[in-house]
Symmetry: C2
DNA sequence: CGCGCTTTTTTCTCAAAACTAACGAACGCT
DNA sequence: AGCGTTCGTTAGTTTTGAGAAAAAAGCGCG
């Protein structure tokens, strides 16, 4: 199983060879489906699994039997019998100890390493100052992972390490390419961490990780959402797109850089080479700059975004106006993306969402202005389900997704 | 089989019910894969199909045997034996007469009705002036279809009618919603045509149809392209997105309206309710207006886009500059979309591509300006593979795609 | 407490699909 | 003619899910 995680980045371009499906694929698909149903609705008895999946009760018994044998799931005591009587169900749930999953959320300033069990509960969490020398830093992280493995030796197996990085990644080659906020360049993150820990490693960009986390853990909330747009507002602006239930990475692994679509062709030059990118208007950097501009000459240092939001909560008019303006730009960009991508839901993440009461109405108003898609008005606009570090949840989801998602056939 | 076409629009939202796969699904998948391999590489012997698909020779024999029996394919004489000797292969090809497929390309002025065989060759083509009363017009088309069916009675079966429409469609309800160029509103196209002809009908927007046509017929050329962006430049600007090999329609069937992302937030108001939409700068309408502005007061009537392109070919400086400017805006928008969507290829369609020698270098230059995605430079920018009416090819592809594409599992 | 009733789960048999291996046919080369 | 090669088929095996029926486990009632 840990193999499949490795395949994620080393998979060769599908040489137009349409591989057909055999029994093994059928088996794998159904196994994954059951596992994901159990993961979603645990504790859940076999009979219900059969109903949900459409599989025959007998088949469910066979498959769950194997899962019990390989310790992926456990029987969970006795279930409640129905009022009419009948045999009480035997609820099944994931075996938390089946897999340990490492999540590494690397940010410009601080890096968090977490260990979660198979049931998505954190069992350890460490934080470090992000080092400027990537190799030394990742070696250190590798040692910490080894320590954690030794400490939590009750896990049957460790599934892998999911890594969220604040910038462009190529998860084909497993390399971190570059970022504006973190001075790393062309770091073979996958190779380094795999060598240091001998575990499969999957990396991705933080916005895409966050999108994955939303679709993955919001499952209960956004029951049948298959298409989601995540807009990550931090120093820069980056997006993650979930299409038909799975993360869209693009043809060259660079999908999601919607922060660099132009919203003003006559605007200032962006470091990306274009003019008037959305990023320049709606990122934290832009918000802070806008606030600073109102008190030019005061000589005061620019606040962090966290501070700025606190100022808004305190009622500071200049800060409020700066955030308001950002919200307008966010709204404009999001409306355009709704027109193009037509997601069922848009999730916004970042410090700015702490001022949700101020931000949300402005964004919603902007989207409602569009007359285009008659149903666009119905698109849900939400803030991230995670108070802190959605990207850490996303890093963990990279591995979890690999264990639980149904492989594509065809 | 014709059922599946009908399902396309009547399929209920997937109520979080993860349907598992049985043998029937496996069977369907492999059957479709073989059919699509044969369609791609015909004439092709069984042995090669086995190699390509990964299926066992025996399995291929069984499946192709059934296909022969139901006349989907035919044996094609004798194949060439290899230089070394050996039994000569028996090439297989599609049976052209297995399915007749209707394609209806409705444009503001002219509507084309075509009949193609299963091997994607047109066998009939009629054109009509598009009527202003949709019901009367579609009834008339229905009669024409019935006539064509009677005339071409050598087909075993008619698979359905694919319809391309110049505006917003909801292919959930099967309705044409609205358009700026065609004064139809809320027309239940699917219902009307199905009632008139008793054939399954699939409708879609013309840009999305064209995108489908490109991925479908460009298969030989863009061998392993899985993600494609089609930009349709006509009166308005609309896009079609192919993701992971299949047309992306979005959560509410409105995906692709990238013509209405803003590229100048301070720009003029667009009829969509937003400001400074891309459409306002790069559509034919914009190009023509720009040209007209240069000869203000001359009192001459605005030319059609076709005329304008002819003027460019004739060396008219004002026309050339107008088109050049449009190309720049196209480039700006496309670059942004490449950043966000990361397709392997961008295909541009519309009258303006007839001035490809002028347009292409400008767009390419613009995309190369972006430093963002290191591989963005490698994105291929092409004009549509079809000289005339890509959307007609796309309308046909709607049905063909339904017959040949591999269903998703999970 | 036994009996009918209900619901869950397992067991056993069957059917479907793909895989394995072996073989015959057709052909070129020597 | 003999040999090696390739294509396609046939017969039998394996894998996997489906279906029916039996076993298990409670509940309620007389």
């Amino acid at each position: 199983m840990s193999r499949s995680a490795r395949q994620q980045y080393s998979r060769k371009p599908n040489l137009a060879a349409v591989r057909a499906a055999g029994h093994d694929m059928l088996r794998l698909v159904n196994r994954r489906i059951l596992l994901s149903i159990i993961s979603d609705r645990q504790p859940v008895p076999r009979a219900e699994i059969a109903k949900i999946s459409g599989l025959n009760k007998a088949t469910v018994s066979t498959i769950t039997g194997e899962m019990l044998k390989d310790c992926s799931i456990v029987e969970d005591g006795f279930g409640q019998t129905t009022p009419v009587g009948g045999k009480p169900p035997t609820p099944l749930r994931l075996n938390e100890l089946r897999y340990g999953i490492f999540g590494l959320d690397i940010r410009a300033d601080e890096t968090v390493l977490a260990l979660s069990n198979f049931n998505n509960r954190l069992v350890a969490r460490l934080s470090f100052e992000t080092g400027s020398d990537p190799r030394a830093f990742l070696t250190k992280i590798g040692r910490e992972i080894t320590k954690l493995r030794a400490k939590h030796d009750n896990f049957i197996e460790f599934a892998g390490i999911g890594v969220s990085l604040p910038g462009l990644v190529d998860n084909h080659s497993g390399k971190f390419l570059f970022s504006v906020v973190l001075p790393w360049r062309d770091v073979p993150v996958v190779q380094l961490l795999e060598k240091a820990t001998d575990l499969p490693v999957i990396i991705d960009n933080s916005a895409r990780c966050s999108a994955l986390a939303e679709i993955w853990h919001g499952k209960a909330q956004y029951a049948h959402v298959r298409n989601l747009l995540y807009v990550g507002v931090s120093t820069g602006l980056a997006c993650g797109v979930v299409i038909d239930g799975s993360l869209y990475r693009g043809g060259n692994n660079t999908a999601g850089q919607f922060g660099h679509i132009p919203i003003d062709v006559n605007g200032p030059e962006c470091r990306c080479g274009q003019r008037g990118c959305w990023d320049l208007y709606a990122s934290d950097k832009a918000t802070i700059a806008r606030y600073q501009a109102t008190r030019e000459g005061s000589g005061k240092r620019a606040p962090t975004m966290r501070k700025l939001v606190e100022l808004v909560e305190g009622g500071d008019p200049a800060a409020t106006e700066a955030v308001r303006e950002t919200a307008r730009y966010l709204g404009v960009g999001i409306t355009g993306l709704i027109n193009g991508l037509d997601p069922e839901i848009v999730v916004i993440g970042g410090e700015i969402t702490k001022a949700w009461g101020l931000v949300e109405p402005i964004i919603s108003e902007e989207t409602k202005r569009s007359l285009l898609a008659p149903r666009a008005h119905g698109v849900a606009i939400r803030r991230s389900a995670f108070e802190v570090r959605p990207s850490l949840k996303g890093a963990l989801a990279l591995i979890l997704n690999d264990l639980l998602s149904v492989p594509h056939v065809g």
